[in-house]
Amino acid sequence: MAEKDVVFRVKRYRPGHDAAPHYQEYRIPYTDDMVVLDGLNYIKDQIDPTLTFRWSCRMGICGSCGASVNGKLRLTCGIFIKEVRGRAVTVDPMPNFPILKDLVVEFDDFLRKLQDVKPYIVRGEEKPLAEGEYLQTPEDVEAYRQQSMCINCMLCYSACPVFAASDHFVGPAASALAYRYIRDSRDEGADERLGILSTKTGIWECTFVGECSVVCPKDVDPAGAIQNLKVLASIRQMRELLVPKWARR
């Protein structure tokens, strides 16, 4: 294959050295089968070992390599260099997160929110092992399958203008995962999770812009999940207000 060149403009930021992030340009050869991540790795291996970025599986399942490529939120392993239009491939770190170094952002906040929504099966009474496994039909699985595909890449948080302005917002991925567990037939924690989500910084901050679902590389549809959570939370509140405690459950 004939060797072609492309210019990579990558956002650099060295904490303690730089006052603000700035672009650095690298001209690299590329082939049609290279993705943007391959370009970044080429730069790191051959040109500038100080370039810092996250990556792991290089096949769109680990969720490590999120970035803004020419203004579009993508996993760098999931977009071919030849697909990127324009004179240069501009790579920025994911917006709406504090930048630690170069393309690496800090997402402790997201991890805390994820923990807050209890992303695991919660039961009132555990079934003893002797009684066997929990049974689910294919329909039971289908109810939560879409939201279970989330790889925690956080591109949805970068897309969300509400999160951009208010970092207390629980956000799309955490909400989608809460929904995944609420919809799981083995789970009995719906009430607890809806209580956690039905706060001022929970799902009620969402104004259904919908960009989170547009950028999601795994088609999780967090926007749809949040709207469904709003319906569930509203029904739950009405039940709490209208049905006395002794009549519930």
Binding site: D116, P128, D191, E192, G195, I196, T199, T207, Q237, M238
Partner: protein, 152 residues
Amino acid sequence: MDDTTSAWNPGLENVRADAERRRARGEVLLEPMVWGLFSLGGMVTAFLFPVVMLAMSLAVPLGLWPADRIGFDAYAGRLADPLFRIFLFALIGGSLFHGAHRLRHMLLDAGLKRADPLWIVILYGIAALGSLAALYYALLRDVFGIRLPFLD
């Protein structure tokens, strides 16, 4: 080890206590309710407003209808139908709560979060008062004969 203990289910004991604490801290009462009204208003405005605007405001300037179809007698004729009265009430109430909620969220999104109690009182207040006024003009006054001189 008894396999029904919480030892291998990290969430079991903590979930309820945690949730109670968190609920005490911040669960909102207002949001689900106004969101419900907002949704209802959204259905009403999305499905009904285009045709109502066309009929009552745009058909005449567009030359589709003669002017008397939106005149006093035509309006009185429509109000003879109690269904139309309920229809008007739904249009006004729905659009007011829908618009109030959207405007409040626009203001919060623009950063004016600390004045939220003010927005709640003003915006939902106008929506509530407007809906009550619509209830009066459309239904209470003529159908039930209730009179409120300050509104007449």
